[in-house]
Amino acid sequence: MTRQIKFFEALREGLDQCMGADASVYVMGLGVPDPGGIFGSTKGLVEKYGASRVLDMPLAENTMTGVAIGSALTGLRPVLTHQRVDFAILSMEQLVNQAAKWHYMFDGRMRVPLVVRMIIGRGWGQGPQHSQSLQAMFAQVPGLKVVMPTTAYDAKGLLIAAIEDDNPVVMLEHRWLYGIADDVPEEAYRVPLGKAKIMREGGDVTIVGLSYMSLESLRAADILKGYGISAEVIDLRSLRPLDEATILASLRKTGRLVVTDTAHGPFGATSEIMALAAEKAFGALKAAPSRVCLPDHPAPTSPALADDFYPRAGHIAAAVLRQLGREPDAALFAPPAGRRLDQPDSSFQGPF
């Protein structure tokens, strides 16, 4: 049965169903069993499954990643959770050298069924070290899989698929998606890793987005409709494996590409998609692709500085218009009505 639940509730339901179905699944992370329960996504699990399967942990991200790897090598299925991506990079050694390579360097003799959840912060002054989008750093490493659900439906389906996968999977969850509801089936289901989703069909331009920027892309498509432009919106959902086929098929249809990311542009996911277009769909392109990303500097804290840091639907629509030789009007860049720019909606009142 389908009903509407929020992103964090979908995550919790996915975790609950995996833990109920398989005693080898356990959840670990700083604050996982605390009253907040990782913004609600692990709330209630400790009462149901006990402290041995729903664990808090010391502030030792690298070692705890190693612990998770060791347990995964010997039959458990850990879900390690970091409240910010920024904290998770303390574990790069174990993730990059060990988790990503253990299967390969021992010639397939062992597997690392590990899920590492990381939350991307944004708004209310999260600043330089609580809001980074470092997906490209993880996606660069063969042996890791990287997924970024946008909708509550995909959050649950990708999480279940990630837990059931026999490889290390990094799942990046944008904090601003947590409160957004979607149709979500009650029963367990899987969204395949490595499959993008066409969120909106269109014929004039392909907008490739991920995570929160896929929602901005949908809003951009709405704006563009007013200009008589039909945009196809692809939500990547997975960075690695990358669904080249879906992107290329769309590109061959539209001939135009705008890529948008929650991260900086250089050496990032947008670079990869544009390289894909150049290598494999060059002949189909009617214009040089463009991208809409963060400015190339760390996130500032003051709202006066941060308001301009995050591109919005209008910026994506403007990129499309420019490709079509049309000058975007200033109204596109006006701040949205009814909320300040450092909150996803008026219900979000900080502090994090």
Partner: protein
């Protein structure tokens, strides 16, 4: 006194490691073993004494200098030699080399050359055993250098917190590559003291005395198996040859010939041979027969490795992801 079977097993395990390592050193200049090798000659008592304290079902993990740990845990010699020669029949199919030994049948879950990195992974296998209620101990091997890494401290903390069935074995050979303890750790502070401060039961011992090591390690394994929590063992020993490669390097100036000679006099294998003979536990001829058998085993392993095929090129792109 220790029973004769155990004593001969200790001798055999040490002599086997020595035989293998010396032969690797002999053959290395042929340039057919095309990967770094970190030989453990001089440290055999620490390795044999700890490895033999484990059951086959127990887990072990190690670092870059892992040949002795792998062999003492029961790792397959042919698989190890073929791996060092980069062959398809190697224990890691040629993907790993000397620094990535593995033998799941023997409970040797892997070795990696990022110093300290297998410590938390070993804590994870112990965590897994505890969660599953298994009667299994994990032993993890590392050197003095690893005790400077953050993961060492973090791992001791977590192992103590959850009373995990793990034995941490630190072979303190005084050097990290060429850097002596004095430039890496403050005077007057012991490594064992750090472990104790983390709330881990701690033992220190002579890493060149196989029986002393075996006795310490057996007690530690037993305590861990009975659910008494982790144990840390620091063993003093000495690496005879260069950090990486087959040669001696006392002439280059980072340590003195006199220091080397002092440790050389404490050769764990020669001392144990003399002790067994003096005690009447074995005759020189018996021990020589064991040595000859081990030399023949090593020649077989080298022949196997050299005559094995290289892995097919397409295997380089295989096993990136588990299917």
């Amino acid at each position: 006194m220790m029973d004769a079977t155990t004593r001969k097993a200790l001798y055999r395990a040490m002599s086997r490691i020595r035989t293998v390592e010396e032969r690797i050193a002999d053959l290395y200049p042929e340039q057919e073993m095309r990967c770094p090798v970190h030989l453990c000659i001089g440290q055999e008592a620490a390795e044999a004494g700890t490895g033999l304290a484990l059951d086959r079902r127990d887990y072990a993990l190690s670092g870059h200098r892992s040949h002795g740990h792998y062999l003492a845990k029961g790792g397959d010699l042919k698989g190890m030699m073929a791996e060092i020669y980069g062959k398809a029949t190697g224990c890691a199919g040629g993907k790993g080399g000397s620094m990535h030994l593995v033998d799941l049948d023997a409970g040797f879950l892997g070795a990696v050359p990022i110093v300290g990195s297998t410590i938390p992974i070993a804590v994870g296998t112990a965590f897994s055993s505890k969660m599953k209620g298994e009667d299994r101990v994990t032993m993890v091997f590392f050197g003095d250098g690893a005790t400077e890494a953050g993961v060492f401290h973090e791992s001791l903390n977590f192992a103590a917190l959850h009373a995990l069935p793990i034995v941490f074995v630190c072979e303190n050979n005084l050097y990290s590559v060429y850097s002596p303890m004095g430039v890496r750790q403050p005077d007057g502070r012991s490594i064992a003291g750090i472990a104790a401060a983390h709330g881990v039961a701690t033992q220190t011992g002579d890493g060149n005395d196989a029986e002393a090591v075996f006795t310490l390690a057996s007690k530690a394994v037993d305590a861990a198996r009975r659910g008494q929590g982790p144990v840390f063992i620091e063993l003093s020993t000495y690496r005879w040859r260069e950090h990486c490669g087959p040669n001696f390097d006392n002439h280059i100036g980072y340590r003195t010939e006199a220091e080397y000679e002092e440790w050389r006099q404490r050769d764990p294998l020669a001392l144990y041979r003399a002790r067994l003979i003096a005690d009447g536990a074995a005759t020189g001829a018996e021990l020589a027969a064991i040595d000859a058998e081990l030399a023949a085993e090593m020649e077989d392993a080298v022949t196997f490795a050299k005559s094995s095929p290289f892995p097919p090129r397409e295997s380089a792109g295989q096993h990136i992801y588990a299917e």
